[in-house]
Amino acid sequence: MNGYGGSILRVNLSNGQLTRFPTPPELAINFIGGRGFGAYLLFKEVTKFADPLGPENKLILSPGPLSGLMIPGAGKMDFTTKSPLTGGYASSSLGGMLTAELKYAGIDSIILEGISPNPVYLFIDNDLVELRDASEYWGKGTITVESSIKDKFGEEFQVAVIGPGGENLVSFASINHDYGRQAGRGGVGTVMGSKKLKAIVVHGSKAIPVADSEGYRKAGKELFKACKDADGLVPWQRYGTTIVTSWCDEVGALPTRNFSSGHFDEGKSLYGPVMREKIVITDKGCFGCPSPCGKYSRMKKYKTNVEGPEYETIGMLGSNLGISDIEDVAEANRLCDDLGIDTISTGGVIGWAIECFQKGILTSTDTDGLGLRFGDSDSIFKLIHKIAFQEGFGKLLAGGVKKAAEAVGKGSEKFAIHVKGMEQSAYATHNATAMLLAYMTCDVGAHHNRSWAITYDLQVGRELVVPEKVARIIWLQNFRPMFDVLGSCRLQWVELSIDRDLYVPALEAITGIHRSWEDLEKTGDRIWNLTRMFWIRENPGFNRDWDLPSPRFYSEPPLDGPTEGQITKFEDVQKLLDMYYEQRGWDKNGIPTSSTLIKLDLAELAI
């Protein structure tokens, strides 16, 4: 099949059985690849009410049809599972080199199921597939293990690995790769840990068939040329995602002290140019990237290195925890990466814990003697360790902020910043109604990547609650995640503003199937509704309350900064949902109607 590796690998960790079967053509036609494959296989294969950490849950890794080819940023891969953090759909995207190698080994998806009796790693070298003993790696950090595996097999082998966080079943454990890239969100690393799978090691050298090699070369070159000619290329390469740190601070979107404000008085010390000057030593990109946004940093104070920090980490482990020294933020980033826990969720749950302590809801008796305060990096580093090892007070935080707040109570639920149990990423949404709706309705919980709409709020009026804003969110949700389906990075379109229509001839030349963006958005809509039905199937009583944001954004206006005194009224939150459901073709409780499912060729899911 053109554009595909040609096979799906099933790995049963319980009995060690490894089977490979041809990628079904109808799967490729209807769900294309990447996140589409993951969503379909999750819904079809994971039994209803499966324990996320039990043998019946599956972790599904999928490149897309563009992965590993001469397309800008074609180094993306999707990890899908039933989330141990939220109990719903989880999908996390990973950059780096792994996805290309997997395609070269002829693989379009790996389905991991069961639970191994002992720690193992999955070894793939083209057609050689084996589960091997990982006892020598178990208990070690991600950087050490990746380095050891590469020393053993060679640099051409690509490695995805979990850290102690995944082994110890922290609900927001990450999967690390390339010494600093993560599939971070939703606990994909937790599920890998539950299966006692320490690492996946891949090498491939097969060709990927394409339908029209001349057309593919031409379309690929045009895409690369558009990137190289882009206005924003130079600053984007120099600062990467940190380009928005100062902007977020300026417009009141920088999460500060557990999202109590959108402005950090000491924020300037975290801005992109300061970070570049103080700690960045080089740039780093993923497979096939003409605009590498990764930054590699050296923390002299700690004599350590890290890839990052990216904006999200600066927001969540920096301003959100009151830390103003970029070296401290980078060190917290390094600890999370090596221990294998998500920086965003970690910043969210620690921010909540500090606020609890400040309000007297928690005392040092609860926190193993630690005094918690914003800006105290030493205690924050200790908390990161405690979370990763589920040690003492860390055990409470390791379940995520929703469960921690439910356990502690005393009103702390009101400042547990999450949607559906996923900690909100780094945009304060006190008065940014499109971005607030984006978080409320995101298919994995409060994550920004499906619809990054905060600029749109600024363009059209941040407090407006109008159908056009809702339509924009739905369009972004159907369109943006298609890059995760195709297996390429969206940032060339997002940050360099290259024409998305340039992808159409490339995809056609590679797969031999013409798909306009209208066609692709319809597939995006189908996947969106499929994942919504997964939430509904797995969570009896699922209703519109699941889509509500943290009360902080509709009841506690910031006391300072550009959004001082501003919130979104609760009636407007409900109005946003009403408009969203209507435009999506969902009922008043956010359930897709039968006619919507039939229209999207999902008739078999109609209730």
Partner: protein
């Protein structure tokens, strides 16, 4: 008073009638110059004055070239 050059990038050109360069009067803050030029300061992620990043309260001097990077292209 002399002049300086604003170079809007990406979607910021939409606020400058599609132009790659606008001549502006120097001696004022970048924020004021942006407002006077019809470019919303809140949509400018970073400003580079003669290739050095500066904040929007920086006073613009004669002959300076100011590159304006949009917050984001697509959304």
């Amino acid at each position: 008073m002399g002049t300086a050059e604003l170079h809007p990038k990406g979607m910021l050109k939409n606020y400058a009638e599609g132009k790659n360069m606008i001549l502006v009067e120097s001696g004022f803050s970048l924020r004021k110059v942006l407002l006077d030029s019809g470019i919303p300061p809140e949509l400018v992620a970073m400003a580079f004055v003669n290739e050095i990043p500066k904040d929007k309260d920086e006073i613009i001097n004669d002959g300076e070239i100011i590159d304006l990077v949009a917050v984001i292209g697509g959304g």
